[in-house]
Symmetry: C2
Subunit: 476 residues, 2 copies
């Protein structure tokens, strides 16, 4: 029988805090009858967000095309959805039941290319689109392909979404952390980037790519145009590939801000000699269809033989799930003005985005009223990365700890805090150490996805909990 | 911009013949208006097999639960399906739209455990079931976890399904090929197994596991009970983990044969000190739901801390797609006697399996009538591995070639044959070299999934093509 000592050490070392021990404890508590508010993960429909009607109507017809033959049923569906599904099944008669071509159904890839072209005003080629089981699988494909030697490193933000650190650990690449600038609304900072690449090279690391998450996870920040242009110039100077995680592109709430893709920014800068991978997903935005595992990877500025290797990699897992491919199609090609389902689509979309904006504000403003807790009101995405103060730990002289020991020490403290928060209030958040944070600072990531009344209660409970927790530490 | 020289060399070396250059040529020809018969891949619904009614009815309601509120629509569905979906949505109110727990929805995992327990008469634990995006992802998880050093090797049949060789190449493990015994209906042979493990160890390879595909892909063979017991004893002697690919378990056609799982055989032998991974999928059997990417991995005889590592690995990709999880549920928990949809289910199931049996015989018997071509009438799965003779290549003295040169030489010859078959007849099959074969023998893998009249035409065209191809070579 195998034991844990027989396993791949890279698997043993990989950490994935978003679904780590605190979440497992929450599931245990829930099984024992406790009410848990899951703020650990961007999973909108688990927090009562309703799916968009048009998407689910279309998917139900695609799953069971026999419904199209039934006049009584057809009469219950908007005619544009019925017509669209008939068209889809004419173009792709195998429906949801057959493997597709490895990179996905050709006309869905074309619809994605059209979407990018319209969004960004640049040419997009369907041959450079690969449909994936959610954006995670696209990220994993890119990292699998780009890591040539164990010395190869990828620049990853701190704080970051831990898919990146976990995948790098698993595939045996090095993580080159770069701090986001908390004092400047979590934008990237050129000096910090330069310093981190110098340090990495000095350690024998060969930097191959930079990951940028925009809008930010866990930070909730939206990057400015200048910041993005700085990043492109930085990548160009250092011959780095850009991996742009843009899954929250529809989630921008702050007044006067709008999402701009790296595709657009690079195109408008006239830069075409830096490889760019961009990722998108049906899980976020206003669809929130996490369970459908749909998404795409766009590969820009790459030679044909590199593209062929990505298609081969995709083919080893056959293809992305086909309902997810169709969900991706409906994300990039929603109902149009004049169609019967258009007004419902717009109403549902706007209601979800308005509620998210409102909840981001309620959460952010409420937290900022708690003594010893601060947060930027999220500009985008589905998260707030909340900073909290803890009294100094008088049991340890932190000045005598190495950097690694200090990190572990801080991680124990923020994990203990989040576990205690869970046990006392049922609120499940992820410790900042799961994403990375500056030494001596403490954070947690929370979503603002629960219904508004729950967010209001959450803020109250958080206040009571925090005051008590800090008081107990001070008395100890 | 990155070039192919910047890519992971393990990716560059990985080969996946089932979707390789011949298939790409077929897609090109199809785009130019040629009619292609795709026999390269077990993709039933792309070859006119219809999905099972009960499964699609259930999935359509799960995608659009609003249908359940509409009396006119509900009246069109069998009451047991409506009741079942209501029950599912009560147990799992998030439906298809939310991430589930990493290893899958608890009651679906329980249904899988119940299915195994009923099938095999052994205890099965839902905690040891992980729902996966098709069986491929389960295989990849197992190989990721088991390969500890680059010297670790996995025993893989020759011929094999190339997912195994491709994944081993990609993850940096060694492939320890063992020939299946073509003269004994492609069963495993203990002497060959022993010889191959001795040879591997002599080369410094550390064998950690053995892959067994039963029913066989590409061989179409079903393993006997004695053969399976021999494999278990062999694995035990050499402390190997067994990876049992049992995705074709419903596809057994030969009279007097029936599928037995490794779970059952090991249980009845009283062996509990060898780790066993078993894989199943909604893609094969009589469902043929390849597009839904559903399946499961059962982990048997493993310690809890090893299980925890597998759950963590799954969590990094969040969870399997949820429609696929529900499809897996309906595979293991189909309509029961007395329910309204039972008779349709049985009728559809039996018709599909009877047609596959008939087509296996038509294909096998037809091929055996072609001079210079032989095949075992497939006992199971969806494939025949057809052996064909080519006149000696008078341009090369093969006796002077190294083993590797010989393999390459043979591979060029069977690839040229299959490419020519495609160009002349539109029949798309996969060369034997993509799966592995003994030096100097030539094979191709074909499915017997096309409709019966197409199988009949395929046999005729194959005969004409083969005679002409051999004639031209002889004249050359």
């Amino acid at each position: 029988m195998i034991t844990v000592n027989d396993l791949n050490p890279r698997l043993l070392h990989a950490q994935y805090a978003v679904r780590g021990p605190i979440v497992q404890r929450a599931q245990e508590m829930e099984a024992q009858g406790h009410k848990i508010i899951y703020c650990n993960i961007g999973n909108p429909q688990a927090l009562k967000q309703q799916p968009l009607t048009y998407l689910r109507q279309a998917l139900s017809l695609l799953e069971n095309p026999a419904l199209l033959e039934n006049a009584a049923v057809v009469a219950e569906y908007p005619p544009d959805i019925v017509a669209r599904v008939r068209m889809l099944l004419q173009k792709h008669p195998f429906g949801t039941g057959a493997y597709t071509q490895s990179p996905g159904i050709p006309f869905v890839r074309q619809a994605v290319a059209d979407f990018i072209q319209k969004r960004d005003g640049v040419k997009a080629d369907k041959e450079h689109i690969i449909l994936t089981d959610g954006a995670s699988k696209g990220v994993q494909a890119v990292l699998t392909a780009l890591l040539k030697t164990p010395q190869d490193g990828v620049m990853v933000p701190i704080p970051q979404y831990p898919l990146y650190s976990a995948s790098l650990a698993l595939y045996g690449g090095r993580q080159i952390g770069y701090y986001l600038d908390e004092d400047n609304r979590w934008q990237l900072n050129q000096e910090i980037l330069e310093a981190s690449i110098v340090k990495a090279k000095a350690a024998g690391t060969h930097p191959v790519a930079i990951v940028v998450i925009n809008p930010g996870n866990p930070t909730g920040a939206v990057l400015s145009r200048e910041n993005m242009e700085m990043i492109v110039r930085f990548a160009r100077t250092h011959a780095l590939t850009i991996i742009a995680d843009e899954v929250y592109q529809e989630n921008v709430y702050a007044k006067g801000l709008r999402f701009q893709s790296f595709t657009r920014v690079m195109g408008e800068m006239g830069v075409s000699d830096i490889t760019l991978f961009t990722l998108h997903s049906v899980s976020k935005g206003f669809l929130g269809e996490c369970g459908h595992r749909g998404g795409y990877l766009e590969l820009r500025n790459i030679p044909e033989d590199v593209l062929a290797q990505f298609i081969k990699l995709q083919s080893i897992s056959l293809c992305a799930n086909v309902s997810g491919q169709f969900a991706t199609y409906f994300m990039v090609a929603p109902p149009q003005e004049g169609e019967a389902s258009f007004s419902t689509y717009i109403r549902e979309r706007d209601a979800i985005l308005a509620a998210l904006k409102r909840k981001a504000e309620i959460l952010g403003e409420g937290i900022n009223r708690i003594a010893g807790m601060t947060v930027d009101i999220p500009q985008g995405s589905m998260y707030a990365f909340v900073r909290f103060e803890l009294p100094p730990d008088r049991t340890v002289d932190v000045s005598r700890l190495s950097a690694e020991e200090r990190e572990l020490h801080d991680a124990r403290r923020d994990s203990a805090y989040c576990l205690s928060l869970l046990e006392e209030t049922g609120i499940c958040v992820v410790p900042g150490s799961g994403f990375g944070q500056k030494a001596g600072t403490f954070h947690f990531r929370t979503t603002f996805l629960p219904p508004q009344d729950e967010i209001e209660r959450l803020v109250e409970r958080l206040k009571t909990f925090h005051e008590k927790y800090v008081h107990v530490l001070e008395e100890a």
